[in-house]
């Protein structure tokens, strides 16, 4: 199980699942033919669809078909995770599957931004930490958003970076749209002074 820390609601522990391929693009995370949806719901069942299922719907030999999603809340992937299309359906699908965090040595810009807006934590690690994760792909890790600490099973602690505003949004529940709406007077003044009023 993913274990929330009773004393620190911003920390959780979970086993990892490793997809070591580099450049896992958002078309792999959710193929385009599933993007005709008009909601965010239920996309977990098509997360990595073409890696999970054969054309006839039967299971492929693939790790996400063999694990209990409730036990594995952290996806560790090869370099440049989430490249390609800007589809926010990618983090929606991963979260609906059960993931709470993704770890890679590099995470693509738009995917990272989309993930943060939905509470899927993108954690960029150095090569040494990545190698340690791969060396023990069954391990349980702890991720603490307050201290930005990723703790591996062997006790190694890696401090990761999260853009501060995004971190505050996640920690304090600041709503980014609301934050922008509070600036509407400033926005109106900008429009007036720059000849951009309606």
């Amino acid at each position: 199980m993913s274990v929330p820390n009773q004393e620190n609601p911003n920390s959780f522990s979970s086993r990892i699942v490793v997809l070591p391929e580099a450049n896992i693009d958002t078309d792999q995370i959710i193929p385009a033919r599933f993007l005709t949806t008009t909601t965010k719901a239920g996309l977990g069942k098509v997360a990595f669809n073409d890696w999970r299922y054969n054309a006839d719907g039967s299971n492929k030999d693939f790790i996400l078909n063999t694990i209990d999603a409730n036990e594995h809340r952290v996806l560790v992937a090869g370099n440049n995770l989430g490249c390609g299309s800007s589809r926010e359906h990618a983090p929606w699908a991963l979260m609906d599957y059960g993931f709470k965090a993704v770890i890679s040595t590099e995470i693509a810009d738009i995917f990272k931004s989309n993930s943060l807006k939905n509470g899927l934590l993108p954690v960029v690690v150095d090569q040494m930490t990545y190698d340690k994760l791969l060396a023990n792909p069954q391990q349980r890790v702890t991720i603490d958003l307050e201290t930005c600490a990723l703790t591996l099973e062997d006790g190694t602690v890696f401090t990761f970076q999260v853009e501060e505003f995004a971190r505050q949004c996640l920690l304090e529940g600041v709503d980014a749209m609301g934050w922008l709406q509070k600036r509407l007077p400033l926005i109106e003044a900008y429009e007036q002074s720059h000849g951009k009023a309606a």
């Binding site: 078309d27 385009a32 008009t38 390609g84 600036r183 720059h194 309606a198």
Partner: protein, 469 residues
């Protein structure tokens, strides 16, 4: 202080500067919307009791989910699924409710979002442009900061006309020299991506400069900027020049008459100042660029066609070659091509179709090859038909369709069958991008047309009457 093109446009759009704990509030001049990445954003607005704040700066089109086949006699369109049709109707309803102009089926300007923006002059130099689509970087060809956003951010812009953004680093890519005959903007872009690597541009705003970029026509510049995301960069820009000004003159949404010349004078001041500092600079010898084709499953896995399929240098490359069914060391004429797709926001414009038509003219698509030509917009379709390009395509044995994203993203019913090899003028050769099990080679319109004729990946120069050949 000397400023870069990016810094000039960025600075002009800062509503609130960034601080240690807060991002900049960046004003968005133009918000383009399509059916796939907008429904959940409109739902979010509705849940909050909000309307689109600036419908006059918001424009919508139908491109991703729509069929490119004609409607039947009763006007029914052959949607791939009922869900695709619902998605289209959802955008129609959301646009109507919010007073947003939708270029729908009845509009003469409907088309692929990154084709119609510039075509109508909605895209103007110095603008910030966003869309829930990673190829929004296309509009950077006009000196815009233009980038793709997720659906949450689509909601932010609909509600406030602003985004919370951190300023990216800047990189200038200077392409020196002069392109050889038969080499196009697409070949430049694929060379840039192969040079930078698939994530080499991550975190950067790119500026393309140098004599090769200056010599490209606007369509070629759009192709180059369009593919910035394939090196990981969210945006790519080119300084507006006389070519930009002439290309936009008279278009529907630009100022007209004397007001246009006044606007143009301002646009020409946007170019990076002498001495502007970039976080990174790279130079590429444009004279050495040759017609390119990808051989792997990411856009940086490309090479000059004449060099053949490279031998894998690492495990990732070996895996990509295996998926593609290609063998390192083979010449490119070994693998048989099943499908050729010409179109998309990358290469679905008039200049692209003319380049393809030049190759197709008087020739036939090789037996066993399915060739699909999909114009980027209604305007492109009508213009191409006026020039008789549609006849050239159909006489060669290619299909001529209605505008849309079509086989680039393969969500509308146009797709490549499992295991088939496609040469495509689009932007992504990811596994399964053009349909489950599809294998994609990215190339220019000329190369795609040449490959359709030859039945294998072919250097288009063999079909061209080149001055220096």
């Amino acid at each position: 202080m000397a400023k870069s093109l990016f810094e000039k446009v960025w600075d002009a759009h800062v509503v609130e500067p960034e601080g240690a704990t807060s991002p900049a509030v960046l004003y968005i001049d133009l918000h383009l919307v399509h059916e796939v990445t907008s429904p959940q954003a409109f739902s979010e607005l509705e849940a909050r009791g909000l309307k689109v704040r600036r419908p006059d700066r918001t424009f919508a089109t139908l491109d991703h989910s729509i069929p490119t086949l004609r409607p039947d006699a009763d006007g029914n369109r052959p949607y791939i699924t009922a869900q695709a049709e619902i998605q289209v109707h959802t955008l129609e309803q959301n646009a109507a409710k919010n007073g947003v102009r939708l270029f729908g089926y009845d509009a003469e300007n409907r088309g692929v979002v990154h084709v119609i923006g510039p075509e109508m002059g909605l895209t103007q130099p110095g603008y910030t442009v966003v869309c829930g689509d990673s190829h929004t970087s296309t509009h950077g060809a006009f000196g815009c900061i233009a980038f793709g956003i997720g659906t949450s951010e689509v909601g932010h812009v609909l509600a406030t006309q602003c985004l919370a953004q951190r300023k990216p680093k800047t990189m200038r890519i200077t392409v020196d020299g002069k392109l050889q005959p038969g080499v196009t903007g697409k070949d430049v872009a694929l060379t840039v991506i192969a040079t930078l690597g698939f994530s080499g541009g991550t975190g950067y705003a790119l500026e393309y400069a140098g004599p090769v970029i200056e010599a490209l026509d606007m369509e070629g510049r759009m192709t180059v900027c369009n593919l910035s995301i394939e090196a990981g960069a969210r945006c790519g820009m080119i300084a507006p020049d006389a070519k930009t000004v002439e290309w936009l003159r008279g278009r529907q949404y630009v100022p007209q008459g004397a007001a246009y010349d006044a606007a143009a004078a301002e646009w020409l001041k946007l170019a990076s100042d002498e001495g502007a500092i970039f976080d990174k600079e790279i130079r590429i010898d444009g004279s050495a660029i040759e017609p390119m084709a990808t051989w792997g499953t990411s856009p940086d896995q490309g090479a000059p066609i004449v060099k053949g399929v490279p031998v894998a240098a690492n495990e990732d490359q070996a895996r990509a070659l295996k998926y593609m069914g290609l063998h390192g060391g083979d010449s490119r004429d070994v693998a048989k091509v099943d499908v050729v797709f010409i179109g998309s926001c990358t290469n679905g414009r008039m200049a692209d179709l003319r380049a393809a038509a030049e190759i197709f003219k008087g020739r036939k698509v090789a037996e066993g090859v399915r060739a699909l030509v999909v114009p980027g917009s209604e305007w492109v379709r009508l213009e191409a038909e006026k020039e008789g390009l549609d006849k050239i395509f159909t006489e060669a044995g290619a299909e001529w369709r209605l505008p849309g994203c079509s086989m680039c993203i393969a969500m509308n019913g146009d797709f490549v069958l499992p295991g088939q090899l496609a040469v495509s003028t689009s932007n992504r050769n990811f596994e399964g991008r053009q349909g489950p099990g599809s294998r994609t080679v990215l190339a220019s319109p000329a190369t795609a047309a040449a490959s359709a004729i030859a039945g294998h990946v072919a250097d288009p120069r063999q079909f061209m009457a080149l001055e220096n050949a």
